[in-house]
């Protein structure tokens, strides 16, 4: 279904190269990706507090995951203005670390102890915490998943959630 919308601001549109009063199909316009605003300091604090809630980590343990010191973490958690040239680097780690741990917490049944264990246990020689500290949240995620559910080599990938023919279905290629 095409939506056509008259955009009054383009009524004097000759300078834009279009005829005046021409309706604009807004869904045919080029997509503009508006970057998300960077998180505010309060957001980082809230994310750090979430992480502690999900893992019951001490300041030192969180510091390990963020690749910083526990005084810096304490400042982050209490909202004290951060000091040091590395504080920006630490803040940049918070968002992806939060994303990883939020999901691992869910997969671990919302159990902080299980979550922490999954993050701290080595998988293929390295723990999720080590990967986070190295700035690799994707590898951290894989390591934590493997710690929670160690992969079993069955020879063939088969899938544990097969789609079932006959269930009410939508061909999403035709979805409009």
């Amino acid at each position: 279904m095409t939506h056509r919308l008259y955009v009054p601001m383009l009524e004097d549109a000759t300078r834009y190269g279009t005829a005046p009063s021409e309706p604009i199909d807004i869904f045919a316009l080029p997509r503009i990706d508006i970057p998300k605003a960077a998180p505010r300091t309060a957001d980082f604090r809230a994310m750090a507090q979430d992480i502690v809630k999900w893992t019951l980590w001490s300041d030192r343990k969180l510091a390990k995951a963020l690749g910083t010191t526990h005084p810096t973490v304490h400042a982050l958690l209490t909202g004290t203005p951060a000091v040091g040239s590395r504080s920006r680097e630490v803040l940049q780690r918070v968002t992806p670390t939060h994303a990883v741990i939020a999901r691992i917490f869910v997969i671990a049944g919302r159990d902080p102890k299980r979550t922490a264990t999954a993050l701290e246990s080595p998988s293929n020689g390295r723990s999720a915490v080590a990967h986070l500290r190295a700035g690799h949240p994707d590898r951290a995620y894989v390591a934590a998943l493997d710690a929670l559910n160690p992969p079993v080599d069955t020879g063939l990938m088969t899938g544990s959630r097969p789609s079932v023919p006959g269930e009410g279905r939508v061909d999403y290629l035709a979805e409009s």
Binding site: M1, T2, F27, R31, K36, P96, A99, V100, A102, R103, V106, I107, N124, H136, P137, D138, R139, Y141, V142, L145, L148, N149, P151, G155, L156, M157, T158, G159, S160, R161, P162, S163, V164, P165, E167, G168, R169, V170, D171, Y172, L173, E175, S176
Partner: protein
């Protein structure tokens, strides 16, 4: 008796010849037919049928699909709407394109007049992918309505990584899901080669982390070659290949 196969035709043979393709549409309230000419084609008929066909047969029994190059897809998914014919090339087929039926006699005459009109540039692997794709176009499991946003988010996350060289290592990315709060989904990567499996899993993890948590959490990430992929997985999974997804209202709500 010599056959089209004996004459050098294969499923995947490329034909360079300006031929009309006819479509039937509603125009001005009337059902009407129209034809457009296209200059490049791939022969879609299977080899076994070519092997049993007389090159002088007059009936239009051989299927041709138009070859495009103006908007190639970024990946070569088995269920994609677009199929790249060869790695690194721009030539591709579109699932929804019109197709032409041509007689063996006409094919034979085209090549008689211009031997260079037919080429066979596809590798055996390319031809196998073409064969699989042609077969799968009529066998796509659709998702339940409650999984459409998840599917679009996964595809969007893959699309956002189209410039990542790692994506080119995947033949396809499949997913399965189960409803929940939040839904859980599995990601499966079918690789061209077994080497670098851990890096491939990390790539899929980054895809999973880009899906808004409220739409789904990935709790299983596996990769393997085609040899390591069961037919059951292919038949019962959804494809994350981005060319499978179209939507007309911009990105789904909440997608990063």
């Amino acid at each position: 008796m010599a056959s089209l196969y004996d004459s050098g035709w294969r499923q995947g043979s490329l034909l360079q010849s300006s031929l009309p393709v006819e479509v039937i549409v509603l125009a001005g309230g009337q059902v009407a037919s129209g034809a457009v000419n296209h200059g490049r084609w791939v022969l879609a008929t299977q080899d076994c049928d070519l092997d049993g066909t007389d090159p002088s047969a007059p009936d239009a029994v051989v299927e041709l699909r138009p070859v495009y190059d103006h908007a190639p897809p970024s990946a070569r998914g088995l269920r994609s709407r677009k199929l790249l014919l060869a790695r690194g090339a721009r030539d591709y087929l579109e699932a929804d394109s019109p197709r032409a039926m041509i007689s063996p006699a006409a094919l034979t005459e085209i090549v008689r007049r211009d031997p260079a009109a037919r080429t066979n540039p596809l590798t055996p692997e390319d031809r196998l992918k073409l064969k699989t794709w042609l077969g799968k176009r009529y066998d796509r499991p659709a998702v339940p309505r409650d999984a459409v946003d998840l599917g679009k988010a996964i595809a969007s996350a893959v699309d956002a990584r189209r410039a990542d060289p790692m994506l080119a290592r995947f033949r396809d990315i499949l997913w399965q899901y189960q409803a929940g709060d939040p839904p859980r989904f599995s990601l499966f990567g079918i690789l061209d080669e077994e080497e670098g499996a851990e890096a491939a899993r990390a790539f899929l993890a980054s895809v999973g982390l880009s899906v808004p948590q409220k739409l789904g959490v990935t709790d299983e990430i596996r990769v393997g070659t085609a040899r390591q992929t069961s037919l059951h997985l292919i038949e019962t999974s959804y494809s994350a290949d981005v060319t499978n997804i179209t939507w007309q209202k911009g990105t789904p709500e909440g997608a990063t």
